[in-house]
Structures are given as C-alpha cells and as structure tokens.
Symmetry: C2
Subunit: 235 residues, 2 copies
Amino acid sequence: MQIIVDNGCQLEVKNTIKTASDQVFVDIRQAIVEGDIAQGSKISEAELAKYHGVSRATLREALNRLESCHLVERKANIGCRVVALTPDKLLEVYQVRTALEGLACRLAAENMTMTEINEVKALLNQHLSTQKVKQGESYYQEEGDLDFHYRIIKGSKNSHLIHLLCNELYQLIRMFRVQMGMNGPRVSKAFDEHLAIINAIESKDGELAELLMKRHIGASGANIKSRFNLETVAE
Amino acid sequence: MQIIVDNGCQLEVKNTIKTASDQVFVDIRQAIVEGDIAQGSKISEAELAKYHGVSRATLREALNRLESCHLVERKANIGCRVVALTPDKLLEVYQVRTALEGLACRLAAENMTMTEINEVKALLNQHLSTQKVKQGESYYQEEGDLDFHYRIIKGSKNSHLIHLLCNELYQLIRMFRVQMGMNGPRVSKAFDEHLAIINAIESKDGELAELLMKRHIGASGANIKSRFNLETVAE
DNA sequence: TACACTCTTATTGTCGACACTTTAATCTTT
DNA sequence: AAAGATTAAAGTGTCGACAATAAGAGTGTA
C-alpha cells in the first residue's frame, strides 16, 4: 500500500507509510508545522499517545523521528518540547540552508539531465499561469516554490545531501514559512529568480547557479525575518 | 553523574550519559566507527540487546539515534544495517562537509573572540610539539585535527550548524578516517593549513577563511579517496 | 528443471505494566 | 515567614510478552 504523504506538498518524495509510527509521525509533524501544536509547548507522551490511539512505545518512535527533523527537542527524564521559532533560530537555519542548497544548485548544474531541466522549465511556466489566476493565494505559491527547490535538490544527485535537505531540514523551514506567513510582494520576484537559476543550470554554469540560489534563499530569509520583526514589535 | 564520552576525541562535547540507551548508543557507535561491527552488516535487535544486557526497547532507542548520525539505515519490517562506506558515499559526505564547515569557518571569522582565537593558536603550537615527538602515531594527529575543527565549528556560534556537524555528521567522517587509516604525508601539510585558517580568522577575513577551509577539507577528502582506490584495486 | 504456492521460522512492530526520575506540594525547623 | 527536608504525584525510561510482517524451506504442478 502506497500512500502519498499529505504534508502540504504532494510532490515531495512519495513516502510509503508502513507502520503505525510512520502514520503518527506524519500526523504530528503536520500538526507541529502548521501550528496546531504550539511552538515551545511541552509534549506529554501519554496524552499524545492516547489521542492518536497508539501505545507510548509507538509514539516515542515517532518523537525520535521528529527530533531528527529538528521539530522537537528531547531531554532525558524531562521530556519533549516543540521547537521554538525565534529570530536567532531563523537566522541559523537559513545560514545552513543557504550553504546546503547553494551546494545542491552547483551540483545540479553539473548533474541534471536535459530532460530534468526541461521539466523544471515547464513547471515554472505552469506555475506562472496558475499564479496569475490564483493571485494572492499563498498556498499555491508555497507549493510551487517547494516543488522547484525539491527538483533542484534532487538534481544534485547527492543522496546524502538530498536526505539532509528533504527529510531533515525542510519541514522546519516549512514551519517558519507557514507560521510566519510567507506571501505578499516577494511572490513574483521569487519567480524571476527561479527562472534565472534554471537558466544558469542549463548553461552548466555551476558557480553562477550556486550564487543565484544563495541570493534567492537569502532574500527569502530576509523576507520572513522582516515579518518576524513586525510581529514581535506589534506584541 | 557526568561521564566524559570516550569516542576517540575527549575534547568533543562532554556528553552526559543519563539513561541506559545513552550508554548503549555510545558503545555501539564506537563499535561501528572503529569497525568492530562490520560496515554493511545487518544488525539483529535481539542479539545486540542481549549482548549489551538491555531490552529491545532500549536498544531500539539507541538504533534510532544511530540512524540520526547516519551510521545505520533502517527499513520498516526489515531491519537495520550498518552504513556501507563506498567511494560514492565518501564523495557525497565530503561535499556536504565542505559546504558546512566552509560556512562554519566564515562565521567563526565573524564571531570568535580574541580569547578563543588565542586558545586555538596555543593548541596548534602544542600539537606541533607533540607531533614532532610522536611522529607517525596517527591517533594523536587525528585527535588534534578533530580538536581544531571542533573549535572552529563552535566558534561559528551557530547552534544548529554546530549540532549538525558535531552530532550528526562527525562520527560518520571519523568512521571513514578510522577505517581508511588517515595518516601519512598529509599530516604535516594539514598542520600548515590549520595555521593559515586561524590566521585568516584572526584577520576577520571570513571569505578567505571559508576558502581555505574548503580547500583543506577537499585535500583531506582526496587523501582518503586515494587510499580508497588503492584498497579497492588491491582486492 | 523452473515456477508458483503454502507453511514454517525468524525478526520487527506494538502493547500494557512496572521502575525510576523529576517536579511540586506539604510539612518541619529556625 | 523563609528555607530546607520530606513525601506524593506525574511523567519518562525500561521491560517482557504478544501481534504482524518478511524471509526461507518445503511441496506440488507444469
């Protein structure tokens, strides 16, 4: 049985849910990313296990994986807390992301096939048209953006890097974006940047592709950060 | 009770072992890194649990953490295998490491205090003298090298990056080095490179520091790779 | 012999109960 | 009343047993 994980981006790696802890992991992950479980809040194993209808052992298995995604933090004999999104943390994560996706982009310029490149270009055109129709709906923009980044990352053909970014870092980044609300004027600008990146990749210019990707992510991070500051000032 | 983890580098983050699974995790990790458990071999939960005198639940907790370190790979309903060290994997890991430690080095140039910088310089002098005495003993070289890299990484002051490198990647890198046997003519060269890096950091030249660190790691990776090829050819 | 199917066996996933640690509430002492 | 010790409550860590799944031996058929 193969179930496509519904985590806000259907085009992510189509995971295969085989065990109960797989399902609980995915469910809780979504709850955390979307803010249904408040950031910084403590997680009670007994309570969550009961809620999801599984034993504590199964739930703990799921918590372990959430820890691998950096979505919760555990302390021995004390318990589990949902990660807290602070401006400092945002900066840290985006510094790491920039370095890793920059690398991925350079490798993609070396390793992507013409077919893969053309698929991405077709995808961008498609995003452009739907974006004009669904203007303002940030969900589609986010999905499209994720899709683009996923394809570049996969194009690096570095499985360790792919795992690091797609499985261990991206949900945390999504959490920032979802809870900070990434949308607004950056949407159209991001689109142009995507175009420039895939063009650099097509020209096999790894150095330029890396540079553009780093700038692109830096701009995206700055955008979220500005919202952050607005919010914290508003309180 | 605070126990310093003996994993070949006493100067690593001094971890606090609180639970049984902590201890089992550290023990198995060392066994894998040092090759006592063969790479690629399947891990039997029942067998290992019995060997370490704990229940399977405790052992599984340890296996989860080993998976976070990328030292084992799990498949649902099938089991756990020790990671296999291939030339491809080496390349992948070193590409990631280069990007991350390059970033760490640039941040270190921005964030390290004069005190910290001086400590590293003192450390290098100390390594130089002991190295001359203990020439040829690769253990001291490796410890010294790890120590240097740890301090730079810590100097980045980016806790996410520190965690990623020190807790999730370094044991895997150690595994490559230990099982491939990193020593020989590179030892003294690496020392000079360390010196150049800390000088760049002292000059607050983040760009240069990053470049030098990337080259340094690249050379180290190439060194291991050459041994790899020798070995695989010899077979 | 090759292939498909069944059944057995071994291994992993899951459960409920118990042991230990932490936390806080209560009681004692000054 | 404040500080420290004691104890009760809640929560996490660990265990042994059972259920579900996968791998392999064995059987039968073409």
